[in-house]
């Protein structure tokens, strides 16, 4: 194979990897990258520089966006452009299906951006962090997808701040098998999936953090909630807490 062809094949493989086409061949948990920061191969190749590079890789699908108030138009072809897009821009195809696809892409870009800045942690209190039923008793309630109304969302936020776990908030939730790196979480009113997208020290305190993608919604309606959560455990035996929500 010529050098040019090799380069083209590598680029195509990176694009395919980034957009998740190779998901079925992925390991069940985030793979180990170099330097103590780890990430899913759905996000970028194995080298640390691949994370930064992934921000500039062209998307397979181009997003034509507009700002409804002013009709300003933008074309988004990479993570860098997606992350620079001011809030309020929406895909030209205004269906929720396209909107959720855009949000999923933007959340993944934000995770890549954060992981590219992450450093190796000095201390890890999270351990292997397998996504199983026991973990639902540790993860904060705020991971429970909720569409509203405002007072119920506020109650969920308060419960989560008070240390209530997802399982305690909704005892019906349980983990079910998913595809590739994803595990399903279903409950009486919940149908979503979880996926570990990366690990490392994302906030500079020397303690291992973990990035968890949660995508899904209710069992019956069409609503979806797509967010990545940076979670950590500050010491042995302490509760798992959400440091930041990336959406």
């Amino acid at each position: 194979m010529t050098t040019a062809a090799t380069r083209a094949a590598t680029r195509a493989a990176r694009i395919a990897t980034f957009v998740g086409l190779a998901a079925s061949a992925m390991p069940a948990v985030a793979d180990t990258g170099s330097g103590g920061v780890t990430w899913s191969r759905e996000l970028a190749g194995p080298a640390r520089a691949d994370l930064e590079h992934a921000l500039d890789l062209p998307f397979e699908d181009i997003w034509d966006m507009h700002l409804p108030r002013t009709e300003e138009r933008r074309r988004v072809t990479s993570c860098r452009e997606a992350l620079a897009l001011p809030r309020g821009f929406t895909p030209d195809d205004q269906s929720d299906m396209e909107w959720y696809a855009f949000v999923t892409m933007r959340v993944r870009c934000r995770v890549v951006e954060q992981l590219a800045k992450a450093t190796p942690a000095r201390t890890d209190h999270l351990g292997k962090f397998t996504l199983d039923n026991a973990r639902l008793g540790e993860l904060p309630a705020i991971l429970h997808p909720l569409a509203g109304p405002r007072d119920v969302v506020a109650r969920l936020q308060k419960a989560s701040d008070d240390g209530v776990s997802w399982k305690k908030w909704d005892s019906s939730v349980r983990v079910v098998p998913g595809h590739g790196e994803r595990v399903g979480v279903v409950g009486k009113n919940v149908d979503c999936f979880l996926q570990v997208l990366g690990r490392g020290d994302l906030d500079g305190d020397g303690i291992e953090d973990l990035v968890l993608l949660r995508s899904g919604g209710g069992r019956r309606g069409s609503w979806r909630s797509i967010s990545a959560f940076v979670v950590t455990r500050r010491g042995p035996g302490q509760r798992v807490e959400v440091l930041r929500e990336l959406n």
Partner: protein
């Protein structure tokens, strides 16, 4: 705040509205103007002339806010599920091919979930290029292929994943059937007066029910109570969905406000003609 009791829904604001069973009574007047305001007259004229309101202009291909009604008998009409399904396609999108939604489930039409290959095989898929019906084995193979795709991709990605499509009108028919079977009965359980609500309020509630599920909608108790009181302005303030796009939330609120204006306009007009 201007409030309208359920008894105040004295006449159909459009063809879908019914009069109350106990005759025409108007709620207490303290907070209301003595006569119709210009805005209320405009809202009423829009209703009676069946012209789209500002809220309905968001709904591509949607029916008008109301149908000509003044001379019609005051019979109770069920909402038109096919028209409501057309409304839904504006927000939910409508596809004729299979795709993987953001939960990882194979879906088609207007958010029509295909739980497994059997559910897919129950639909009359056609080959896009030839228009010929697909064989069960072909449908099964396409379902497996699409199910293996990553979730939450651009719609065009899934369109290229297979050449099977549904007949053009089927997505809307599937959505209409689901509205009839699941959502409208659910809405009537949650809101006993649903069939007598102004059409914009019905449309707002159908949109929310489809989006949240009837069980999810039941959590919006303040909004539902406001609807039952005929207080659609308050309903508009209580309809905010946490996970919803701003423009969809805004459009729902505008529909409730349109319902409120219609109710107020009608009441004001009745006060003028019935001293």
């Amino acid at each position: 705040m201007t409030r309208v009791s359920s008894e105040a829904r004295v006449a159909p604001l459009d063809s879908n509205c019914a009069p109350p069973a106990d005759g025409a009574r108007v709620a207490p007047q303290e907070a209301r103007p003595a006569a119709a305001t210009q805005a209320e007259r405009v809202a009423l004229r829009e209703a009676t002339l069946a012209r789209p309101s500002a809220a309905t202009k968001h709904m591509a291909g949607s029916p008008d806010v109301a149908q000509p009604s003044p001379a019609r008998p005051q019979a109770q009409h069920a909402p038109n599920a096919t028209r409501l399904a057309t409304d839904l396609s504006r927000w939910e999108g409508s596809t004729r091919h299979m795709y993987v939604d953001t939960r990882g489930h194979v879906t088609t039409g207007i958010g029509h979930l295909l739980r497994d290959a059997n559910a897919a095989m129950a639909l009359p898929w056609l080959h896009r290029a030839t228009g010929k019906p697909a064989m069960p084995a072909e449908i099964q193979a396409v379902f497996a292929h699409v199910a293996a795709q990553p979730p939450g991709r651009h719609a065009s990605h899934y369109e290229h994943a297979s050449d099977l499509v549904l007949p053009p009108n089927l997505p809307r028919e599937l959505a209409a059937a689901r509205l009839e079977r699941e959502f409208l009965p659910g809405l009537r359980r949650l809101c006993p007066g649903f069939d007598s609500y102004p059409q914009p309020a019905q449309r707002a509630l159908v949109d929310m029910a489809y989006n949240l599920g009837v069980g999810g909608l039941a959590r919006f108790s303040k909004m539902l109570h406001a609807c039952e009181r005929g207080d659609f302005a308050t309903a508009g303030n209580e309809c905010h969905r946490h996970t919803c796009r701003d423009d969809r939330n805004d459009a729902t609120r505008e529909l409730f406000l349109a319902a409120s204006h219609l109710t107020n306009a009608l009441e004001a007009l009745l006060r003028e003609v019935r001293p």
